[in-house]
Every structure is written in C-alpha cells, then in structure tokens.
Symmetry: C2
Subunit: 335 residues, 2 copies
C-alpha cells in the first residue's frame, strides 16, 4: 500500500518480476485485501495473451496477506510504526522476520521502513544504525554511495560502519573483489573535511577494508574499478541524500539541453542507455538482519521489478550472513 | 604566482581582460618581478598583430608589484598568511585593502586567500565567517550556491548569514529582483534535515529575505526564476564543496557518453553552450569588506578573464556596500 503509485505500480512490478525472474518462487502482496485483489485481478485480466507466463500461472505464485492500516508518506516514522501495527509495512516486515518471506520490498515511507526494519529485523551486533546503500550509474562501472539518507548527523564511528557495510555490499552484490572504499571529503588530504570525516579517516586507516583515502565530489563518477577510482563512497546521510537527488535530476536537464540542441531522440536514448535509475530499482537498508529494500515513492513497475531483483540477489548471495560474519571479524587490521 | 598554471594563465587572462573589458582601467600583476616581467614580455611579443589593442597599449595598462614569496597549494592557510607576508597573496590583498586596487583575483591557495582576506579586508559587522558563492549553470537560469567550501562545520546562525549574503549577491550580480532563497535539506518539511539545518529553517522564517523554505538536491538545477525554483541555495561548505566538484565532473562524463553514442561534435558543443564553468570564472568571497575573487587552481586564461569580469561587476554594482547596508538593517522581518 506504500508509495505514490500504490497499489498499481507495486502489483504491476510484482507481476513483471514473476514473469521475468524465475528464481522468484512467489510474491506475497501485503495490504488491504479487497483493494489488492481487485487491482491484481484487473491487471491479470489485462495481460496480453500468448506473451510470457499465463495469468493463471502468475496467480499461482501470488499470495495476499491482509493489512488494513496504511502508513502515509507524511506520517512520522517511529510513531507510525508503533501506532499502525497492522500496516502493510509492519505486517510485511513481520512476514520476513518470521521467515515466511525471504525479503521485503516497499516503495512506502522510507523513515517508517527503516524504523520498522530496525525494530523487527534487528541490527547486527556492533552497529548503532542502518545505512541506505544506493548505486550511482557512471560512464564506467556503477559506484555504491552510502549512507543515502538514513542518518543525518553521523559520528565518525558510524561512517566507519558504513564503510564496512558498503565494502561487503560492493563485493557481494556488485561482484567487486576487494572493493576500494573512499571517504567523501573536500580534499584528498586526511586533515581536510568536517570534524566527523577527519576522525573517520584515522579510524578507517586501522580497519580491515581496502581504504582508498579521501575522495572529492569530482571523483565519485570516475566509475568503480577504473584506475584511481573507488567502488564505494562513504558519507553521512545528509550529504548522500542531497547528492543522490541532485544526480537523479541531472539526466532530465541534459535531456532538455540535448533536445534543444537538436540531438535526435534515438541518439538521446543511446546516450543514456544503462543510465536509467529504475535499472537499479531499490536501495537495500544495510545493517539489519534481513533484506529490506527501499524503493522510491514514485517507483514505476520496472523499478519495482528491479528492486525485487536486488532483493533476490541479496538472498542468493547470502548478503546478510556475509555482513554479519564480516562485522564479527576483528575490525583492526594486523600490524 | 598562485594556482597550478601560474604565471602563464593569470598573465594571459589579465591580457584577455584588458583587451575585452574596457572598463578595466589597469591590472597590477603581483609576484616575482623578474618571472612576471619575462612571461608578460613573452606573451606580449607573441600577440598576433592587427587584432585588438596593440601590445604597447596593453602594456601601458599593466603595473607589476614585487612579491618574492609564494604560498604553495599545500601550505596551511593561516600559517602561510602569517609566515609569508611578502607573498603575492598577502601583498596583492594589501594593495586592495589600501585602495591601490579596487579588487583582488587569485587562482592560488583558497584557504590562504580566505584567511588573508578576513585579516586584511575584515568581515562586515555581524558576520563570523565569509562564504564562497558559486554559480551553478542550469538549463534555465544559473543558481547561486553557497557556501562552497569556506566553512565545513556550520552553525544555524552561519547558514542564516550565508542566506543574507547570497540574497544580495543574486540581486546585485545576477540581477534577480527579490531573489528566492532555499535552504538545502533532505525533505521539504521544516523538520527534515540535520540539526543545524532544522534550526536555520526557523531562523530564516524570521528574517527579511524571500525565504522559499527547504529545497532538496533535485530542486537545485530547476533553474532560478522558473516557477517553484530558487535563485539561491544555502548549505554548509562541506555539502556545497562536494556538490560543486561533483557537478563540475558531470559534463565530462556526459560528453564521453554522448561521444560513445555517436553524437556529432557540433551538436555536443551546442548542447553545452553556456554551460562551461570557465564562463563563471571566479567565485567571490562574500562577507569581507572588499572584492576577493577565488578562481580554480587550474583556471584557464579565459576563466581568469571571466573572474576579472566578476570582480569588475562587483565593483561596478558596489556589491560590498550593498552587503554592508543590508547587514546593518534590522534582520527581523516586521510582524
């Protein structure tokens, strides 16, 4: 029931995922049963015949679970989680926490999803906060940027936690061996940055990750795995969220400029191939003992399908176990 | 003597400014006299005949002042200003402070320029820090973003100072009447943001500027003066510096993507017309009682020329006096 386009887009995205991702055994739709069932039936009836799996084959892989309450986008996170225990957010996460579902995906209230994920899935030992890991497309390889909005005022220790979480994520989900982790700052030198960043720099030099030092704004889009570039960029959630939303607004502006200059539609599409944000679909909330994927409130069906794909990959690669093991290892690098 | 390309680029930029900007009466080059004179003579000798003013006419508008010391890009700002009183930075700013020059432009060590500007030009009453105002090109009107790196850990009161400085700058230099000022945050609601931003939001509602509330990363490039867009974006220097450098790296990436897609060079150039950062050239250090223009260390001659143009416009519009008057006005809006 969450998100700006619910229940249409989440249901359409679920149908796309079932059609395209064979490894997705089944999907449980959580929400107001009557509303969800009506929308699902309408969409199944509208499926074109003869393309992909039949409507009835898809229907067999869908269950519906009742959740009469809805957390609105404007609700205060913690209060909403406590006050609406029968919301699709809380009921859905409980299904995952109990093992009835292997992962949870939502386009609803981000703050509420974070709060409910921490309460119901719990944090790994040693963590004080979860982080939202986003993937920035570049002309080369995509780069993981975290935190992208879960935590606004961060301590140095929390930045270090993000570095460890991001490192495992880049290795498991993006397949980067020994990923290079950069600390976002305003100069390469360790003494550049705000107070938390300067302190984090010292701590990061002591832990067992491939720490590449400070990176600046201009280094982010260099593209992971290229020379001198990093796979993971660590920052607080205020900076990360501003950057993410800023970057998301760039293609639209460039589109307008290219169109005005007279670039053909075909070349326009070719330029931005692989650059669509909905290719990435969902951002995992890292640090909780479960797979909780955060999608944009305005997610299209394709974005929802890709978010389900991100969830699938997290389950298949046992991302949560890896993170747990990594966090249990001694943090300090051998001298 | 400052910057990565000194003394070639600053001298070439000065010659361009003298040739193209008639209102620039004369330019004083500050540095190691022998080095500066040799480079200047070489550039004057290499000028193509018959185009623009003659070499001797240009030479008549140039003075050279000796400054034997050089502040390196790696020097610590405050120590450098104290320890190198005969550097081109300090000597040049003293010329401005004494009235022998109407403005100061440098591509040298930014931190040292800030520190020396505060010491030699002094801050306006009521200010605790200066701010670097940068101009972000957009598909519509450029937007002023400040602070872009002068202050990393900012209080709410300092963000309010930036808002007042940016408002006067947008009005005087960009010619926007009653410019709309947005506070950069991670949500539109006043209660979204980090601690300093939330407090600043409350303070900004009480002062005499056209405060448009919080803006998000995605709103910055909407382009000033368009519907719902702001002319000025206020943020701390950490966020502003990261955003500025990130944004500066975008055109290069898009160029590569467009080239790869097969877009013709001519259309490429047409797309990014007016989007070149060197069009803006220099960022004024706002809040000091003088015109101190900060240029990129890697500034091209064209960027230096445009920085001199920014200085000229600040002098012609009496920007510093306006800011002083504005800051003296009662800050609180009448109820």
């Amino acid at each position: 029931m969450g998100g700006d386009l619910a229940p249409q887009a989440p249901i359409a995205g679920a149908l796309l995922a079932l059609a395209e991702l064979e490894a997705v055994h089944s999907i449980t739709l959580v929400g107001r049963t009557d509303v969800v069932r009506a929308e699902l039936d309408a969409q199944l009836n509208a499926l074109p015949a003869g393309q992909g799996p039949s409507a009835s084959a898809l229907r067999d892989r869908i269950t519906i679970v009742e959740a009469p309450e809805v957390i609105e986008m404007s609700d205060k996170p913690t209060a909403a989680v406590r006050g609406k225990p029968n919301s699709s957010m809380v009921v859905g996460l409980k299904l995952h926490a109990s093992g009835a579902a292997d992962a949870f995906v939502s386009a609803g209230n981000t703050g509420a999803q974070m709060a409910a994920s921490v309460v119901l899935l719990k944090l790994h030992a040693g963590l004080t906060r979860p982080a939202i890991a986003t993937v920035f497309p570049t002309a080369r390889n995509p780069v993981v940027v975290l935190d992208a909005g879960a935590n606004v005022d961060c301590s140095a220790e929390e930045l270090v936690q993000f570095a460890r979480l991001g490192s495992v994520y880049a290795e498991d989900i993006l397949g980067r061996p020994d990923p290079a982790v950069g600390l976002l700052s305003i100069g390469e030198e360790p003494e550049k940055g705000n107070a938390a960043v300067k302190e984090a720099h010292k701590l990061l030099e002591q832990i067992d990750i491939n720490f590449a030092g400070n990176v600046e704004g201009r280094d982010i889009l260099a593209g992971g795995s290229s020379r001198g570039a990093v796979d993971v960029v660590v920052c607080d959630g205020f900076v990360g969220n501003v950057l993410l939303k800023f970057y998301e607004s760039v293609p639209g502006m460039i589109f307008a400029m290219m169109t005005r200059a007279g670039v053909e539609q075909q070349l326009l599409a070719k330029t931005f191939k692989g650059f669509d944000y909905s290719d990435y679909g969902g951002a995992p909330l890292l640090g909780v003992k479960g797979v909780s994927i955060i999608s944009h409130g305005s997610s299209s069906p394709r974005a929802i399908k890709n978010a389900i794909g991100v969830a699938l990959r997290a389950v298949e690669t046992k991302m949560v176990e890896h993170i747990g093991r990594r966090l249990e290892q001694p943090a300090v690098r051998d001298a």
